[in-house]
């Protein structure tokens, strides 16, 4: 659609601008403010420049949390993206069963995040949970609150349970938009199932898959509630991801300076990756629709 140039449109955007400025810019400035100052209580602040940033950049705590975070995000994306596409390819195309599948598949997405934690907390316990009980009676040593491997696999399975449906829904919507003429042409050419997927379905799904990847990256990178409820960051610090670490530092220990420096770098990493996604996405929008 060709849009007209109209500077008065700013008036329509103004309410959003003011609201978001209030709820995003003011807090963010507070964080920036704290990140360059030190305090000894009583509201007396002294300028310390980039000291906190240097401290955080060299701190092992941040390195470890960042490492765990990247590991977690890569693992769940490597599982959820292919699995989501695979499931979407097998969804019923239309009719009653398609609706049933859509509703059932979306259900985990609507469960409050702390309840997701609670569900898996109960499900995984070896005394009262189905999963934990089954694994233990099979002779597998499984205990998510003591054993690092169990804790990690439970959190990963929990995230796959929670968010794979998002990838499924988006891929499904992408698949639905492919005209049947494409499939007929492929049939005439006697294309194999794989080449139909590789040369028709995958390119057509590129846009939605990019959004799915962007959302999964963002949301998994700021995951807090589910591991907090399930393991509380333990055993030890083995499942302390960036958000959990940051909340401990900011609201637990009240280390304002380091926590703020931490926040800013955390946000910048997300922004950087998301900006790359966004640029690619808008380029596809331009090229793909032409």
């Amino acid at each position: 659609m060709n849009k007209t140039v109209n500077q008065k449109a700013w008036f329509l955007v103004l309410p959003v601008f003011i609201l978001v400025a209030f709820s995003a810019v003011i807090p963010l400035m507070t964080v920036v403010n704290y990140s360059v100052q030190d305090t000894f209580g009583n509201n007396i602040f002294t300028w310390v420049g980039l000291e906190w940033f240097e401290e955080i950049i060299h701190s092992e705590r941040m390195h470890d949390a960042l490492g765990r975070q990247f590991l977690f995000t890569s693992i769940i994306m490597a599982i959820e993206m292919p699995l989501g596409i695979f499931i979407a390819l097998h969804m019923p195309k239309k009719g009653f069963w398609a609706s049933v599948c859509l509703v059932l598949i979306s259900l985990p997405l609507l469960v409050p995040w702390n309840v997701v934690g609670t569900i898996w907390q109960i499900f995984g316990r070896s005394d009262i949970g189905l999963l934990g009980h089954t694994l233990t009676s099979m002779g597998i040593d499984y205990n998510y609150s003591q054993d690092i491997l169990s804790a990690w696999s439970t959190i990963i399975v929990m995230d796959v349970w929670h968010w794979t449906s998002l990838v499924v829904l988006l891929s499904y919507a992408g698949l639905q938009s492919i005209p049947s003429a494409y499939y007929q042409a492929a049939k005439i050419d006697q294309a194999s199932r794989w080449s139909v997927f590789r040369y028709i379905e995958l390119p057509k799904m590129r846009g939605v898959l990019l959004i799915a990847a962007l959302l999964r990256f963002m949301d998994s990178f700021m995951i807090y509630t589910e591991p907090f409820v399930l393991t509380g960051g333990g055993p030890g610090n083995s499942t302390t991801f960036l958000s959990i670490d940051l909340v401990n530092m900011a609201l637990g220990q009240f280390d304002l300076g380091p926590a703020s420096a931490y926040s800013i770098m955390y946000f910048l990493v997300i922004l950087l990756v998301s900006w790359v996604f966004f640029t690619v996405m808008t380029n596809i929008d331009k090229g793909g629709k032409a």
């Binding site: 449109a9 978001v20 969804m91 059932l104 259900l107 109960i122 807090y224 958000s243 997300i270």
Partner: protein, 274 residues
């Protein structure tokens, strides 16, 4: 003969779907199962079905104020949030879908960055900001804090739906002598009603599922159900049955409305860009 035989065979696709849906449903079933058991039964014997079926856990939630007020508080700030988000997002989305103006692309990306902002980064500054203006532990604090991610989301989803409405409709209305507000109210809003419904659903959902900000910004009067649940866990022992019942009750609202938006849910998650 042939057709009857066919109906007994499960195709590969159905098999995969059944497997996946079973994977999604079994943990939820387990929660449901626990919510109908007594605590002694939960801890003493392991069974796939409740042996002594009881509504006692639900009875506790519906009679204990500290539980049911959690739900009322959550509902209150979620509703305020949905209203605010829609009210400011509607005109903005219209502007983005119809006009080009100075800095529009930058503004659009800036809005998206707020959807990316980790709540953990904002928890402390929000706590200080809302304490200093006297909104701490009120519905408004949580509702306003949640606009951080819900307003950008609403603008994006609504913009996607509005792009689908041809511009000629606007122009015809103006030629017919409609003022902007009259056109918006009488013609445009009914046209994108489904989009508004979907947006409201998503605002509701993301505000409903969020824990960190709602827990940080409330203590007693406006305590959300999510916070009530986590605090009960850390208190004297864990009442598994009640916890399971509370969990089931938080899933119910989403499950009730999802049927209505099933065909648009992908578009909503894709920020209006499918």
């Amino acid at each position: 003969m042939n057709s009857t035989k066919k109906s007994f065979l499960i195709s590969k696709s159905s098999f995969i779907m059944i497997l996946y849906i079973a994977f999604l449903m079994i943990p939820i079933y387990w929660l449901l199962n626990m919510s109908f058991k007594t605590n002694t039964e939960i801890l003493s014997q392991f069974s796939l079905f409740p042996q002594n079926f009881t509504f006692h856990n639900y009875y506790i939630i519906f009679t204990d104020p500290s539980w049911y007020w959690g739900y009322i508080n959550s509902m209150a700030y979620v509703s305020i949030n949905v209203v605010i988000s829609l009210a400011v997002a509607l005109p903005a989305a219209y502007a983005f879908s119809r006009y080009t103006f100075l800095g529009d692309k930058h503004l659009f990306f800036w809005l998206l960055t707020n959807r990316m902002a980790p709540p953990a980064v904002f928890a402390l500054p929000f706590f200080q900001l809302y304490s200093s203006v006297g909104l701490f532990d009120t519905y408004w604090a949580v509702a306003l804090a949640h606009t951080l991610f819900n307003v950008p989301l609403s603008v994006w989803i609504l913009e996607g739906f509005m792009r689908g409405v041809p511009k000629e409709i606007d122009e015809t209305a103006y030629v017919d002598g409609y003022s902007f507000f009259k056109f918006f109210r009488k013609i445009f809003i009914p046209l994108i009603a489904s989009g508004i419904g979907v947006t409201a659903f998503f605002c509701f959902m993301f505000s409903w599922v969020e824990l960190l900000l709602s827990r940080t910004l409330t203590s007693v009067d406006a305590k959300s159900i999510a916070a009530t649940m986590t605090r009960t866990v850390s208190a004297t022992g864990i009442d598994w049955g009640v916890l399971a019942a509370a969990g089931i009750l938080t899933i119910v609202p989403g499950a009730l409305v999802i049927y209505f938006v099933r065909n648009h849910i992908a578009k909503g998650f894709a920020l209006g860009r499918v």
